[in-house]
């Protein structure tokens, strides 16, 4: 047999078409962000490329612009609260669905996942119309409800995936060793679920923090989130302040990614979004 005939496929087969398309994909995904970083350090006063000179003036401008600071506070608060509530409500529901031998558990599970199929803007409209205008619930209350509903499917799905992987005999073993149901939950179930809960928490926080449609429709006095403040700023002004904020958020995202990698694995947490 000839040498060439030995391997069906050369070790490094060239795939020029696929490679070109893949490179284009990465350029489109990451390219614009790189230009934003460059523009953030301009000393000029418009979005111009290449940037005119180098300065940190736009970072200073961003840091002294009240709506951004207030928005940051609001976003962090809403994201934290919504994540905590979604987990506090979602984890018990997950347990009931996976361990409860309920009739029609698939229906219950799908019910908890259902908010994800509704466009966010539509969910926002429904809550705005019915709860805020219709029932007179405060903007901050409705904002929190909306974000919690938004995160609930993630909380249920991610912790559920983690629970489905866990051996149900673990809980039985704890019971057999003398632990009651409550002790079993805190000493065994919760620790075993910890990676799933961490993943759901990171995912939930990021999703809520970045959300625009809900936050935009449900804004009231004192409930403008950072992304909404940025969106409204970009719509009215053409200076590079938002580029500076973007760079800060980019760095924060890098930190989140590193933390996520340490906790559970970055690709594991965020790679599950599309499946």
């Amino acid at each position: 047999m000839s040498r060439a005939g030995r391997s069906l496929r050369p070790a490094r087969e060239r795939r020029p078409v696929l490679t070109v398309l893949a490179v284009a994909a990465y350029l489109i995904m990451l390219g614009p962000a790189l230009f934003v970083v460059a523009v953030a350090f301009t000393s000029g006063s418009t979005i111009t490329f290449p940037p005119e000179g180098f300065s940190l003036r736009w970072f200073g401008a961003a840091a002294s612009y009240r709506p951004f600071l207030d928005g940051l506070g609001t976003s962090a608060l809403v994201a934290t609260a919504a994540t905590v509530i979604a987990l506090a409500v979602g984890i018990p529901a997950t347990l009931a669905v996976h361990r409860g031998r309920l009739p029609g558990r698939a229906v219950v599970q799908n019910l908890f996942l259902s908010p994800i199929v509704l466009p966010e803007l539509v969910l926002g409209l429904a809550l705005y119309q019915q709860l805020m205008v219709g029932l007179g619930v405060t903007a901050s209350g409705v904002l929190l409800i909306g974000h919690t509903i938004l995160l609930l499917p993630y909380a249920v799905r991610v912790t559920g995936a983690s629970l489905a992987l866990a051996d149900p005999a673990l809980e039985e073993a704890a019971r057999g060793l003398g632990a009651g149901p409550v002790t079993t939950f805190f000493r065994v179930t919760l620790p075993v679920l910890r990676p799933g809960i961490a993943a759901a928490a990171v995912l939930g926080f990021v999703t809520s923090f970045n959300n625009v449609p809900l936050s935009l429709l449900l804004q009231g006095p004192g409930t403008e989130t950072l992304p909404v403040a940025m969106l409204q700023y970009v719509q009215t002004s053409y200076d590079p302040v938002v580029a500076a904020v973007s760079v800060v958020l980019l760095l924060a995202a890098v930190v989140v990614a590193v933390v996520a990698e340490r906790l559970v694995g970055f690709n594991k947490i965020f790679g599950g979004i599309g499946s």
Partner: protein, 273 residues
């Protein structure tokens, strides 16, 4: 766990879903504030007879489909190469593809203002190279919206395709090649049918996101390239036309469901054919 305890654990979540999701969503259609009952249906009928509105629906559908097609065209190769790579860099490259999901749509879309703006990267490049003194209007076009949405949803397409591709053994392709199938035939006869479920999921998610996105069309398309999402915001927050907003919400949701159903059906047919 006893059945009673299980039900107790479900109560808070079910209450939240009921009060914060199901009831408002249904009431939004049945009875928007300050409107007579069944007005939403009436408005919907009006919209479906209004050429202006039909134009918006068509543009929404068109942009959604184009974005989905481009995302799959670019995302599938990335997912394929990553899933077949043995390089130690492949994990990092996958992470780079996922990373944009951590950033707000505002931040991600803002980059296109720098690229497509009147003094942006492309315009400056064109004048700088002496190609033209009057660079064409790039911003506030449908192309700009498509570019922005493709950037937004490529990670989703990549992740969906990757999760199904990484479950397909590379040896299956070797087997097909060994049996005499060309590279294209292997792709068409082995890889594509097996990767189809993931691609269908990805396509559905991308379309649902692209057709209902607000941030990107409002920043890159402006008021001339209006889509259903912009119309919904306009009715609910500018003209305060509750029935109109509800009707647009229904249209938007129906569009997403119809395309999701169609792609699931097409995916099944492709696999069984």
């Amino acid at each position: 766990m006893s059945r009673r305890n299980a039900v107790l654990l479900l109560v808070p979540g079910l209450a939240l879903l009921l009060f914060g999701f199901l009831v408002p969503a249904v009431m939004m259609l049945l009875h928007p504030p300050d409107t007579p009952a069944l007005d939403v249906g009436h408005r919907l009928a009006q919209m479906l007879a209004d050429p202006f509105m039909l134009g918006i629906i068509w543009r929404t559908l068109r942009i959604g489909l184009i974005v989905t097609a481009v995302c799959l065209l670019l995302g599938f190769p990335v997912a394929y190469l990553l899933s077949r790579s043995t390089s130690r860099w492949s994990g990092l490259l996958l992470a780079l593809a996922i990373f944009p999901l951590l950033l707000s749509n505002v931040v991600r879309t803002y980059g296109w203002l720098v690229v497509l703006g009147s003094k942006g990267v492309i315009a400056q490049a064109l004048t700088g190279l002496g190609i033209t003194d009057h660079p064409p209007q790039l911003l506030y076009t449908e192309t700009a919206v498509v570019a922005g949405l493709v950037q937004l949803f490529l990670p989703l397409a990549i992740v969906s395709c990757y999760s199904s591709l990484s479950g397909i053994e590379a040896r299956l392709e070797d087997a097909a090649r060994g049996l005499g199938a060309s590279r294209t035939a292997t792709f068409r006869l082995v890889l594509l049918p097996l990767a189809m479920p993931g691609a269908v999921v990805g396509a559905t998610l991308v379309f649902a996101g692209a057709a209902t996105a607000y941030t990107t069309p409002v920043l890159l398309g402006g008021t001339r390239q209006t889509m259903l999402s912009l119309q919904l915001f306009n009715y609910s927050s500018v003209t305060i036309d509750w029935a109109g907003a509800s009707a647009v919400a229904l249209l938007m949701t129906a569009l997403v469901f119809a395309v999701a159903g169609a792609s699931a059906w097409a995916g099944r047919r492709r696999v069984t054919a």
